[in-house]
């Protein structure tokens, strides 16, 4: 059987766009019998055209989701997503894959729970197996005051019809036998479970959105770095790139980690510092953990991937950094917290460790907003919580781009909130990003 491969040398018009077809178990079975020769590229590798209605800078989770929802929900298909490297190698491929909506402030609960609802139907919508696994997220508490705080948080969630359960010590031990309940310094008093929380395979999120956006007519342009933002007075006209100028009616920046650089190109400053966050994965072991577990007496969270490795992380390294690598003191800190909680893991070896740079905003909450430039929209400041918010972030950013006014669920995430004195500070820490 001779099939035409979709190679780079072929030039596609929109009509000839490489279509990967519908994925299904039946097709997988059929391809298995035919030697898997019938698969084509999941998304079309586009070259930049001189003009688009919307140009999105950054093909990470937020950028690709924004493009997908622009095309499918708002009918704007003349969209390009520009990425300096290959897609999915930034923070969408570097996180610890956790999804949840167990927040304290009501506007955050509503926003992140909308995201969780979109995750729940995502694979069907995208026709892509993102391995959404709602195994539950369990936050442990170790003091009476922590119990009060978590109870208040859980009650706040339940008032908004979001699932939250209180677990006592026995229930925690049943769910996670590895936890040392009777640590001398930080005994576990109980837990706060969100059964709908869980994990999603992060790479598949980037690939799934890219494939679905491409099929809907979006151009995904890799290896094209933005070097400047062209403006006329206070109006954005397009982006200068390493592959030439691309004009656009609307430009959206979704480049968490480097938002300050892009904002500087556009001539304004952001309430953001860039910090590095590390993550770790252990050697694969048999199933030992079937929830996402967070420690309450230190910064440590862990889940077990389907391959068996324990995926875990802690806090940011604590000082401004663009180095996509972590330093050892924080690695030691994370390991110490993990072993205090689960001493049985002491002989587990760490397989890999990596770092991602993130926008730490001044109140710990993201920014989805208009900017001082007309026609320039920014999606940034995700701190270390951007992954779980990909569907809602994409949908609300697409709403802002298409309609010109903010989505009701993200109206509180505007840039003006800092000057207006209505910061969304989940932990009440103030404008000190290294503490968030």
């Amino acid at each position: 059987m001779r099939r035409q491969r979709t190679g780079d040398r072929l030039i596609h018009t929109n009509a000839q766009r490489a279509a990967s077809g519908r994925y299904s178990a039946a097709r997988l079975f059929r391809e298995g019998l035919l030697g898997h020769r019938g698969w084509s590229r999941a998304w079309h590798k586009a070259s930049p055209r001189p003009r688009y209605q919307v140009v999105i800078v950054g093909a990470g989770g937020q950028g690709l989701a924004t493009a997908y929802y622009l095309a499918t929900e708002f009918g704007i298909r003349d969209v390009a997503v520009i990425e300096k490297g290959p897609i999915g190698l930034g923070n969408v491929g570097r996180n610890t894959t956790i999804i949840r909506s167990n927040y304290f402030r009501p506007e955050n609960v509503r926003f992140y729970d909308y995201s969780l609802q979109l995750w729940e139907g995502l694979e069907r919508t995208l026709n892509f197996n993102a391995m959404v696994s709602q195994r539950g997220t369990l936050n442990l508490f170790h003091t009476e005051s922590q119990r009060d705080l978590f109870t208040r948080r859980a009650n706040g969630m339940r008032l908004l019809s979001v699932d939250a359960l209180a677990l006592d010590r026995k229930e925690v031990k049943t769910l996670v036998p590895l936890v040392d309940l009777d640590n001398g310094r930080y005994p576990v008093l109980g837990g706060f479970l969100q059964p709908r929380g869980g994990t999603v395979r992060h790479d598949a999120v980037a690939w799934g959105y890219a494939r679905a956006a491409s099929a809907a007519g979006v151009d995904i342009i890799e290896h094209c770095e933005v070097t400047g933002i062209r403006r006329e007075g206070l109006v954005a006209r397009g982006v200068e790139t390493t592959r030439g100028f691309v004009a656009a009616d609307r430009v959206c920046l979704a480049v968490a980690g480097h938002s300050s650089q892009l904002a500087a190109m556009a001539g304004f400053r952001l309430p953001i510092e860039t910090h590095v966050l590390q993550a770790f994965v252990s050697e694969p072991v048999k199933p030992v953990l079937n929830v996402v577990l967070t420690y309450g007496a230190g910064h440590f969270y862990v889940s077990q991937s389907d391959k068996g490795g324990l995926v875990f992380g802690g806090g940011i390294d604590g000082y401004n950094s663009y180095g996509q690598r972590g330093t050892l003191p924080m690695a030691e800190d994370v390991a110490a917290a993990g072993l205090t909680l689960m001493p049985g893991l002491a002989r587990l070896r760490v397989l890999r460790q990596w770092g991602g740079v993130m926008d730490m905003s001044m109140d710990g909450s993201p920014i989805i907003s208009r900017t001082p430039l007309t026609g320039l929209i920014i999606n940034c400041g995700w701190c270390y919580g951007g992954f779980k918010a990909i569907p809602a972030g994409g949908m609300t950013t697409a709403h802002l781009i298409a309609r010109g006014d903010p989505h009701p669920l993200a109206a509180h995430l505007d840039l003006e909130r800092f000057e207006a004195g209505r910061t969304v500070d989940e932990r009440g820490l103030g404008p000190f990003p290294y503490a968030h």
């Binding site: 650089q261 663009y322 404008p431």
Partner: protein, 95 residues
């Protein structure tokens, strides 16, 4: 691992210090506008390059230091007393 040369204690590991943020900003005048106060409180230059910052030597002399550090390579260019005006190399500052 950073090694910071404290002017009072000598070279020490980063674990003895706590980061205390951007030191390039100075408080606005009492007569400054609301917008200036807001910019001072919330916005940052956030350079990818040399950065003037505060570090507190909590595990040593408990004094505040000024440090010029590269935010990508983590190289430390200079460490000084809080009132010292440290020169920040300009060549590799963010655009």
């Amino acid at each position: 691992m950073l090694r910071i040369e404290c002017p009072w204690c000598g070279v020490r590991d980063e674990t003895e210090f706590r980061y205390r943020g951007d030191a390039s900003r100075s408080p606005p005048a009492a007569t400054a506008s609301l917008a200036e106060f807001c910019a001072q409180t919330y916005t940052r230059e956030n350079p990818r390059g040399w950065h003037l910052e505060w570090w507190l030597h909590v595990g040593g002399c408990r004094k505040l230091l000024k440090v010029v550090r590269h935010t990508d390579t983590h190289e430390i260019h200079a460490v000084g007393h809080p009132h010292e005006a440290l020169a920040v190399p300009m060549e590799t500052r963010a655009p």
